[in-house]
Symmetry: C2
Subunit: 248 residues, 2 copies
Amino acid sequence: MLCLPEGTITNKKNITEYLARQIIGGQLKYNEIIPNEIDFAAKFGVSRTMIRDVLKNLEMKGLIERKTNVGTRVRNIQSWNLLDEEVLNWSAGLLTQNRFLLSLLELRLIVEPQAAALAAVRANDSDLQLISENFAHMWNSGMPGNEVTLNTEADIAFHKAIIKASGNLFISQIGGAIQAALHHTIYLSNKANIDHKKSLDCHRRVLTAIENRNSEGAYAGMCCVLQNTIADIGLQSTGVILSDFSGM
Amino acid sequence: MLCLPEGTITNKKNITEYLARQIIGGQLKYNEIIPNEIDFAAKFGVSRTMIRDVLKNLEMKGLIERKTNVGTRVRNIQSWNLLDEEVLNWSAGLLTQNRFLLSLLELRLIVEPQAAALAAVRANDSDLQLISENFAHMWNSGMPGNEVTLNTEADIAFHKAIIKASGNLFISQIGGAIQAALHHTIYLSNKANIDHKKSLDCHRRVLTAIENRNSEGAYAGMCCVLQNTIADIGLQSTGVILSDFSGM
DNA sequence: CTGTTTAATTTGTCATACAAATAAATCAAA
DNA sequence: TTTGATTTATTTGTATGACAAATTAAACAG
């Protein structure tokens, strides 16, 4: 049953996020019925109009299902619109669950090397500039002890720029999800104690390959980046098939 | 400007689809402003509540953008939620435009072989059964002239079953889009005059490979299926990198 | 016990009013 | 004249109350 935290739930965004997290977090389980709209509105102290707006939102994200008279039910995870950026952000807590994290990394393994390969073919001047700029900003040197630390924002922007440069409308869509995912995977891999140098080399390999219009090299470089990440997090290999261009 | 067809637009679904097609079809162009909600409601002869519901729907699909006082504007294609099944269906008309069709086939080339590979590793008994059942139903023989004709529904179900068997939450999401896409690409490739036999062989190759837990074979088989499709439609090769397991 | 009818519940739609936000227009001052 | 603040008008956002439509559950007749 739903019980509210004190006072913090005020506006539409709050309510939506609160409910979404209840569902994704498992406090509201599959097939559980959410109270009718009137009681529900009263519970949050808002109008039924607003609650309906919230529920419509969650419905479109696949988190709930509504039927006349039967009410509003929670749907199962297969129905959730996981590629939606908000849904993915709300799902951050699930990253500790292996299946979820594995699915996410598999997605990246499948999509990003190909995106890099396509970018090598199609990137225009502004794409190239964006990619190289972000590469340049990825690494903060000059730290005490000469450590190389990672600039998360630039790292994300680097990957995002490559996905955009792929010129594929659908990959760009997935890119939104990957971007959100990056925040979390980067966070996880930063907790581990890694030599960022290896990762740096791989990233550079991707950049130069794209600049040289070498799609296979870009592909291989991106595989390298991702395999690093996977190793850092400490997962097993996944069954995704990667072409071998290690010689390039 | 918006002008309505006679009489056919009655309920919410109609209105939503009508507007969506106007936007996707280009009759309503990027940044064009849609009339305010009250006039708009009057135009369709429905309440403002309903129009707001429709607009909220289109907003969440990325087709429009709303701001207080400025109104409702059409967004550009990069913002459209193309992986949404409805959006993709409404976009069927764009399939004649090369960029769109190419993006779609690239997506399939990137995702489906990998899904097949994963399915070979992870498919359980019911997955296997579903895949093989659909393969069995894909081909209507015994037609006059001994032609082999394609059962579109079973074809789609075959691909869908493989994607599901991949066990990857995110790929399954994309699978919804791919499924919708299949309707159209199959339609296009059926217009061409093809020997379905070749395609039959490739599909069988995928099936047996999955049954034999041979992920590389499944990958290669699916590549074969898709390259057939691409050739049938008459497109150029795309720059997607495919591993070569043709010997398997 | 079975099939039909009735009643109750819940979401869906409508109409109206007002709040909040923002762009455009007006006006004041340098 | 130009600039900056102030007012006004427009449009979306929220609230409220009423009724429609759909569907489950209960009551009832055979």
